[in-house]
């Protein structure tokens, strides 16, 4: 292979005129992080609500939650991004559609909202599984001391369910970061998009994707370490992981 390595490429000006390639990389990293963080916050909030709804004693509420999860989990993320970005503005009244189309950073909003909904369905699934893995008597014990249903969730069920699902949530969090790259299909200039742009302008494909890979790995490591720290922090003395809890 006759490849011309050139790591100094990062200090050359990018043809977009917004600084060096390195600068564009950091911008890309910024978009990746903000898209992922916003999508993840949205997914946690929505996913918790939907996950809880799916475990309530009301069959029609459960069905509604199930339908939500099926919808957002089974339609491919890339299709969802296209729907939000290209289709939604055509469906709403014309004035609203025009406003949506010329929103500054429209691809960013659409990317994190689409990713947020998509991930929320996956979080909802984990939250449901977490709640259902608790002994049935826990809900009864909360109810029996006079807690209302929301109080039973807030004080009894969710604190335990979340502890149990920290590991699967960690991987959902990492998936969110990786999935944010799909944003490039609607024009979001995130990390992968920047690597591609650099490859196209400078032909330094290996440098570009090595840098992107390193950045993704760093984010992933940060997430894993943070979640491990969290897991240790909320660990309960004397409690052995649910499922094989001994009594």
């Amino acid at each position: 292979m006759n490849y011309n390595w050139n790591w100094a490429i990062f200090f050359e000006m990018s043809p977009e005129g917004t600084g060096t390639y390195l600068d564009t990389f950091f911008w890309g990293l910024g978009w990746t992080i903000s898209t992922s963080m916003l999508a993840w916050s949205m997914a946690l909030a929505l996913g918790t609500v939907v996950g809880v709804l799916r475990t309530t004693p009301y069959p029609w509420v459960v069905r509604l939650g199930d339908a939500y999860v099926e919808l957002f989990r089974n339609v491919p993320l890339i299709v969802q991004m296209f729907l939000w970005y290209f289709v939604l503005p055509e469906l709403v009244p014309k004035a609203a559609g025009d406003w949506l189309k010329q929103l500054p950073n429209a691809s960013f909003y659409n990317a994190f909202i689409a990713l947020g909904f998509y991930t929320s369905a996956r979080v909802a699934e984990q939250v449901r599984a977490g709640i259902q893995s608790l002994p049935r008597g826990q809900r009864m014990a909360g109810t029996a001391i006079g807690l209302t249903l929301p109080q039973t969730y807030g004080y009894v069920l969710l604190p335990m369910a979340f502890r149990i699902i920290v590991p699967p949530l960690t991987s959902e969090f990492m998936n969110t970061v990786k999935n944010s790259a799909v944003g490039l299909t609607i024009g979001l200039l995130e990390l992968t998009g920047r690597a591609r742009a650099m490859q196209e302008f400078s032909f330094q494909v290996f440098e570009a994707f090595t840098a992107a890979t390193i950045a993704y790995v760093m984010i992933t490591i940060t997430i894993v370490l943070t979640m491990r720290w969290l897991e240790r922090r909320v660990a309960i003395p004397g409690f052995i992981a649910a499922g094989n809890a001994t009594r």
Partner: protein, 244 residues
């Protein structure tokens, strides 16, 4: 005065008839022991009393309040009926003290200091004040069940329901729990206790109810039950559990 009144209660799980026209009353200060073979509906009946399980027919009143009356505030009523479960069901993520405080502060709206004083008083009563800052997982089964009883008592209940409170315990821990229950009974607490501990029944029960296949087959005084249970089923059952 009837504290708990169960009138013609029937319940179905789909096609399956778990409770068949059950009626009984527990007077204020009475201790009623419920026994019967596995699957006879004992747990289901006792869970109906504080509306943890819904039922399709009949009515239950507690302290004059009907569970079926739409005007009854169920969480409020439940707060005043203590319930102790076979598997303790302490909240594992809360310290022992917080397990006792939760209902007091969130349901009874006591301030933290009052709740804490009451909790410590009750922990002392069940002999566990030294463990107030521990988590349930750090206690033995018998200790956990005593905490669970204290948690129920912290709500100042007008009646207590026990669903096989000692059957998940190692034999050497059964007595420490029974002792607490006997003391409660002697103080005049109204109690409905599902148990196969016939020693406990002999010592403090006023009445014994024997259930089989969803029906209340016998509902007699303790003396009569241990003396001459009428149904053959109850006799068989008694001879089985008394001879091992």
């Amino acid at each position: 005065m009837a504290m708990i009144e169960i009138r013609n209660v029937s319940k179905w799980y789909g096609e399956f008839n778990v409770l068949k026209d059950c009626s009984t009353t527990v007077d204020k200060g009475q201790v009623v022991v419920v026994c019967g073979p596995s699957g006879s509906g004992k747990s289901t009946l006792i869970k109906c009393v504080n509306a943890l399980e819904p039922f399709q027919q009949g009515d239950i009143t507690v302290n004059g309040q009907s569970l079926c009356d739409p005007a009854t505030n169920l969480p409020k009523l439940r707060a005043h009926i203590g319930m102790v479960f076979q598997n303790f069901e302490l909240f594992p993520h809360m310290r022992v003290l917080d397990n006792l405080n939760l209902g007091q502060t969130k349901v009874l709206k006591r301030d933290r200091a009052t709740a804490r004083d009451r909790s410590l008083e009750l922990l002392k009563r069940v002999g566990l004040e030294a463990h107030a800052q521990k988590y349930p997982g750090e206690l033995s089964g018998g200790q956990q069940q005593r905490v669970a009883i204290a948690r129920a008592l912290a709500m100042d209940p007008i009646a207590m329901l026990f669903d096989e409170p000692t059957s998940a315990l190692d034999p050497e821990m059964i007595n420490e729990v029974l002792d607490v229950m006997v003391a409660l009974a002697k103080e005049g607490m109204t109690m409905m206790v599902v148990t196969h501990e016939m020693g406990f029944a002999r010592q403090v029960a006023h009445r014994v109810i024997f259930m089989d296949e969803g029906s209340i087959v016998e509902d007699t005084s303790k003396e009569e039950f241990f003396g001459s249970p009428r149904s053959e089923r109850a006799q068989q059952f008694l001879s089985k559990i008394l001879h091992h």
